[in-house]
Amino acid sequence: MFAPFMENTWITASIIAAIAALVGFFVVLRGATFTAHAVPNAAFAGAAGAGLIGVSSLIGLGAFSVGGALLIGVLSRRGRHDAVTALIVALMLGLGALFLSWSTEYAPEIYSLLFGEVLGLSGNDTSLTAILAVACVLILACVYRPLLLSSTLPEVAEARGISAARIDALFLVLVALATTTAVPVVGALLMFSLMIGPPAAARALTKHPAPAMALGVVLALATVWIAIAASYQTNWPIGFFVGVGSAAWYVLARIGAWASSRVRSGHAP
């Protein structure tokens, strides 16, 4: 499991988990779950298209996830946000299906694009992931305060001259960047459960932003590490362990929060 060829997998997956949790904190805070689900699906189409014209899949992932995210941002200013998101998801998956039907990829490759693949990551992938991750963290650090303010108190943020539309676009780009790093490893359909589950669990336990982000990162790292180990042992798809693990943290956290509120309000058993 810790053989040299798995080294890159461990490093890459850890970076991805940390980024997913950091961005995911804001996803949960803004209630943008559907967006977080939509962008990875756009990335899927990008990866399929990149395979078709023979460029690096990372370029396709990046172009389509940023493009899809911004398209959601632009169109939802004119219509219902959730309906627009649903349409973009469907459009992107339709494009993905089209690209796949043109290419000569076999079913297993499609499957791993959707549900993740831990083996066969190269050192090149790892360094690219690291660069994207650093970019993500830098952006996050620069806009941390305005983003937090506009996510929790949009009216106050607007009154202080923070443009909601600009913050929204920035946020969408952040989600797209995080997605680009993660889709090749955890898969298009499972990326978002890593972005939702651990941060939502952390937020159920603490309302303070900094501890919640730290706890989210820890939980996401634990999810991914357990998932890699279990996937290596059983040969089952990593997406299964990531999806179920992320949900499990949330359920545990909710039970924990419920129990502690019972204790505090004097209804201890």
Partner: protein
């Protein structure tokens, strides 16, 4: 004249059995999806509708594993998960979306496992693609009457409770004040939506079926503000997109880059998305949700 016609309708289009079945089931399912979709959009439940169809992946892949028809897997998953999501969900939108997302993530993980078993335990390597992206031309035999029956059932349920449903969609408090059992109605609607999505999953696949549910409805609600008219327009739009998609897919067997046909799903989704964009051109600025709600409260 006949030359033009035969270049539009490839030879054999009207005499092909699979095409007949596809046209019939496609139109019926698209029409039901459109009608149900109007309520989905009005209730801002697009994410739930989308999740229901994703969750159908679990049913579809499970059905392949057990060797029963995918329709039954889709229907079972739609009804069970739809009911569970409604019972577990809260009324606040943000936490409702997070709860939906958590359930969705867990179930997608499970589907990944089932699909993995499907592809490793049997020789049906195309299962992933069939379940996820649908196979309209493969609709045959017993599936056709079953699909029609379920579509009729869904429409009947919708017709039966469309007035209280409309009121509770626009204003839950008003409906509750009139003695309508809003929670029960919500549960019924989720189950109807589960069945509808299960049907469209058969056509365009689990991850594209939200397009049939949301797209025509969102477009129709931009064109007209009267709910009944919107349901009609949505149904017609959905059916038209499906038919045109089938026609184009049939024609595309001779298109580049490979002579194997483009997927029906891609055509249908692209057509629906184009219709949505066009509807925005027609009446810019008429789509503010508040306006719609006010107009509808007046209409009910």
């Amino acid at each position: 004249m006949s030359g033009v016609l035969s270049s539009i309708f490839e030879p054999g289009f009207f005499s092909s059995g699979p095409v007949h079945a596809a046209l019939l089931t496609g139109a019926v399912v698209a029409a039901v999806s459109g009608a149900v979709g109007v309520f989905t959009v009005l209730r801002s439940q697009s994410f739930a509708g989308h999740s229901l169809s994703d969750l159908g992946t679990l049913g579809g892949s499970g059905a392949f594993l057990l060797g029963v028809g995918p329709l039954w897997g889709f229907i079972t998953a739609g009804v069970v998960v739809g009911g569970a999501m409604d019972l577990a969900g809260s009324q606040r939108r943000n936490s409702r979306d997070v709860a939906t997302g958590i359930v969705l993530g867990a179930v997608l993980g499970l589907s990944a496992l089932l699909l993995y078993f499907d592809t490793t335990s049997s020789s049906t390597t195309g299962v992933t693609v069939t379940v996820l992206f649908g196979s309209l031309f493969a609709v045959s035999g017993f599936t056709v009457p079953a699909t029609l029956a379920f579509a009729g059932l869904g429409l009947a349920a919708l017709a039966l409770c469309h007035r209280p449903l409309l009121l509770s969609s626009v204003s839950g408090d008003l409906a509750a004040a009139r003695g309508i059992r809003v929670r029960l109605l919500g549960l019924v609607f989720m189950i109807v939506m589960g069945v509808t999505v299960a049907l469209s999953s058969l056509i365009v696949g689990t991850i594209l079926s939200p397009a049939l549910l949301i797209g025509p409805a969102a477009t129709a609600l931009r064109l007209t503000r009267r709910p009944l008219a919107a349901m009609g327009v949505a149904a017609a739009l959905g059916a038209a997109a499906t038919w045109l998609g089938i026609l184009l897919a049939y024609d595309s067997y001779h298109w580049p880059p490979i002579g194997d046909g483009w997927p029906v799903s891609s055509f249908v989704v692209a057509l629906i998305f184009a219709a949505y964009l066009l509807s925005a051109l027609r009446r810019p600025g008429r789509v503010l949700p508040d306006n719609t709600v006010n107009a509808m409260t007046g209409a009910v």
